[in-house]
């Protein structure tokens, strides 16, 4: 029990950043619950809770990486009950970030319609509210669980397999609840069944993994052959090979698979498509975050200053990203033509994808000193910026002037980020952005 508590404590409080976010999240949620218990519900109050929930979740975001590292470590094999304790710590973490969701949603529901004493006195209302709380809690647990899986894939598996997995998980955990809500079939029983099956399968697999691993024949990694076949283009592009930008095709392939799934799930709804394509374009650009660390190997191997190295790196990254951006644009055009999107929607949507990619590309290039407050806040903003813009673009008749003004604003933001990246590269310190150092910071 002590070990589980210590692990959970480390997930939330392990570094200054996560500790601060966790405390901010807890304070905001506490304040929101106090207000909801005493005042009638309003939109502003809910935002307080939402920010609190986001802070609490981001505060625990090292959990998947720490969990994965500990599970794969030698210590996990020799310490008594290590895997069981790790599994329990993951479950407790999911529960800890989900309970506030149930509390806030239920408190907001009561605050909007009645008061806590009135609900307690009315058995029918009490039953309804408890059911609502349970459904919200279990839905949040399902959602949080998949979010952690996506985070784990993003942080631990930096290959084609990881990218495909991340995109599919994002797609599934975002789309499936939408379908359930549309069909009005969310129920406590169904949620509990999902939770039981997912945790039972995951738990059994996790606990018996060492035995399974010892018995299974050594097979080549999935997609390894594909990656190898697609990567035979290194001659003349050695600079790109060192940076990891020589071969854009696995990334393109990694996006096409989830997009094919999307056709099945969402048809041609413009809002959903634009939303996902914007996320994909942002994820595509984010791969540039590994470039500052990898460029260290190039420093002694060419006639460049730090400024000219940045220019060469920037060109290399765009040579890589333009392929994925092209694939996403083609997908958007294809769906748009098939779905009869307006010309205005297509004209506004394509710059959105380019801007999403540009913002995340320059943010990645600017991360020359590992991950700190500024980078984390910017990354969150960059993830939300295209989603925010998408709301205006995906309307049946978008207000072109507003969209143009917003896109211009994002363009200026991307240009500003590029300037920051360029200035940071002028005094890039490779001691501070070594890949293993970044991993250490992430894992701290």
């Amino acid at each position: 029990m002590k070990a589980v508590a210590r692990l959970v404590w480390s997930y939330f409080m392990g570094s200054v950043l996560t500790r601060t976010l966790t405390i901010i999240g807890a304070v905001l949620l506490g304040a929101d619950l106090c207000i909801l218990a005493t005042q009638p519900e309003s939109g502003e109050m809910l935002w307080l809770g939402i920010f609190g929930l986001i802070a609490l979740f981001v505060g625990s975001s090292w959990m998947p990486l720490m969990f994965g590292r500990l599970a794969g470590s030698h210590a996990a094999r020799v310490m008594p009950g290590a895997r069981l304790k790790l599994l329990a710590s993951a479950l407790v973490t999911v529960l800890l970030v989900s309970v506030p969701v149930g509390l806030v949603v239920t408190a907001a529901f009561i605050s909007d319609r009645s008061s806590i004493p009135e609900v307690i006195q009315n058995p029918e209302a009490l039953q309804y509210v408890l059911n609502l709380a349970a459904i919200t809690l279990t839905s949040a647990m399902i959602f949080a669980g998949w979010m952690y899986v996506a985070l784990w894939m993003m942080t631990s598996k930096r290959n084609l397999q990881g990218l495909v997995g991340t995109l599919i998980v994002i797609l599934l955990f975002t789309l499936l609840p939408v379908r359930e809500i549309r069909a009005l079939n969310v129920s406590l029983t169904w949620n509990l069944q999902q939770l039981a099956v997912v945790w039972a399968v995951f738990g059994a697999g996790f606990l018996w993994w060492p035995e399974i691993k010892a018995r299974r024949p050594r097979a080549p990694e999935p997609f390894d052959g594909v990656t190898r076949a697609l990567s035979g283009r290194s001659t003349g592009r050695e600079f790109d090979v060192v940076l990891g930008t020589a071969n854009p095709w696995p990334g393109v392939l990694a996006s096409i698979l989830p997009l094919a799934l999307m056709v099945h799930f969402v048809g041609n709804a413009p809002g959903v498509w634009l939303s996902f394509l914007a996320i994909f374009s942002t994820v595509a650009g984010a791969a540039s975050g590994q470039v500052p660390g990898r460029s260290r190997a190039l420093w002694l191997r060419g006639n460049w200053t730090r400024a000219s190295l940045f220019s060469a790196v920037e060109r290399s990254v765009w040579r890589h990203n333009v392929h994925l951006l092209g694939a996403l644009t083609l997908a958007f055009l294809g769906v748009g033509i098939y779905g009869g999107y307006s010309v205005a929607l297509l004209a506004c949507g394509i710059p959105l994808l380019v801007l999403g990619s540009a913002l995340s590309t320059y943010l990645g290039l600017a991360a020359t000193k590992g991950l700190h407050w500024l980078e984390i806040l910017c990354a969150i903003a960059v993830m939300f910026a295209p989603m925010f813009l998408m709301k205006f673009v995906s309307k049946a008749n978008p207000d072109l002037l507003t969209v143009f003004a917003l896109e211009l604003g994002f363009f200026l933001l991307a240009a500003g980020l590029r300037q920051i990246a360029r200035r940071r590269w002028l005094d890039i310190d490779w001691v501070q952005c070594r890949p293993e150092r970044v991993m250490m910071i992430r894992g701290a």
Partner: protein
């Protein structure tokens, strides 16, 4: 003649933590410099400042007459570096990795690399991802040798090598250094390797260059004294340059630095003691300096 590397009052801090303090040195062609220091003494930082990976916070450092932060391409092509943690590309084979790195240099000695691959048992078709730490280290060393650099900097190059591979590596390093045209700077915790190979020693202690000079001077300078008094108890002794002293009745053992025969004579006369001087090995010197 221009020094290969020259540093003056070099300092480096990461935030509030001062890692290097007031370091000055020169490296000339023909020098084989062994860098010794405890963990966290600043060895890796010193080597990386030397190569321009990280800017110094004070002082200056020049490589072949150019500021290390702004080395031109022709100077960089004369520098080879083996980092402590390799920078190999996991998805490539050894052959592809060698090809990728060779493409950056106009004068890549393929014959030398092929020969070393055979001698060191490096499989050209092996995928890097599946290689052991020692095999990866061998490949990192090969990548630094291929363009026959005039300045070779190695950060703990033998840490993961087995004794045979270590011997082969040291032999190769000796072969490289014999022409007197190249300079080699390497850090290691294996003192016997440094003793065997280096003609100059740098000892880093808490970010300062505590000692620099040739190995023989170091061994002459830092010695152990066995002191025997004439009475039952030794009198109070004033030993110049004492690093540490252990007393036991009429006997004492002291380690001193900057020892000179004149000091021995003076001490024997003034304190009526007999002194025997014992030379120390490099490992003992290192331990005594850090005691």
């Amino acid at each position: 003649m221009t020094s290969t590397v020259a540093a003056a009052r070099l300092g480096k801090a990461f935030g509030a933590k001062q890692v290097l303090r007031d370091i000055s040195f020169e490296v000339s062609p023909g020098d084989v410099i062994g860098v010794l220091g405890k963990n966290g003494a600043g060895k890796t930082t010193l080597l990386e400042v030397m190569l321009g990976f990280t800017p110094p916070t004070s002082g200056g450092i020049q490589v072949f007459g150019h500021e290390s932060l702004n080395l031109p391409g022709d100077i960089k092509s004369r520098v080879g570096f083996v980092p402590q943690q390799d920078e190999l590309l996991d998805q490539l084979t050894v052959r592809d990795q060698l090809r990728v790195i060779a493409s950056f240099y106009p004068h890549w000695d393929s014959a030398l690399i092929d020969r070393l691959c055979t001698e060191w048992g490096v499989d050209l078709d092996a995928r890097i991802k599946g290689m052991s730490v020692g095999e990866r280290q061998k490949l990192s060393i090969l990548l630094a040798f291929g363009h026959q650099p005039a300045l070779l900097i190695l950060d703990e190059p033998v840490a993961s090598l087995d004794p045979i591979a270590r011997r082969q590596f040291l032999e190769q390093l000796l072969a490289i250094s014999t022409d007197g045209q190249r300079a080699i700077v390497f850090s290691s915790h294996i003192v016997s390797d440094i003793e065997r190979l280096a003609n100059r020693i740098w000892i880093l202690k808490e970010g300062r260059l505590d000692w620099q000079g040739d190995l023989d001077s170091l061994k002459e300078s830092i010695v152990r004294l066995h002191i025997r008094g004439s009475g039952a108890e030794l009198p109070q002794l004033s030993i110049p340059g004492v690093i540490n002293i252990r007393r036991d009745g009429a006997f004492a053992t002291a380690v001193v630095r900057d020892w000179a025969p004149e000091a021995q004579e003076a001490l024997e006369k003034s304190a009526s003691v007999q002194i025997e001087v014992e030379s120390l090995g490099l490992e003992e010197i290192f331990v005594e300096l850090h005691r």
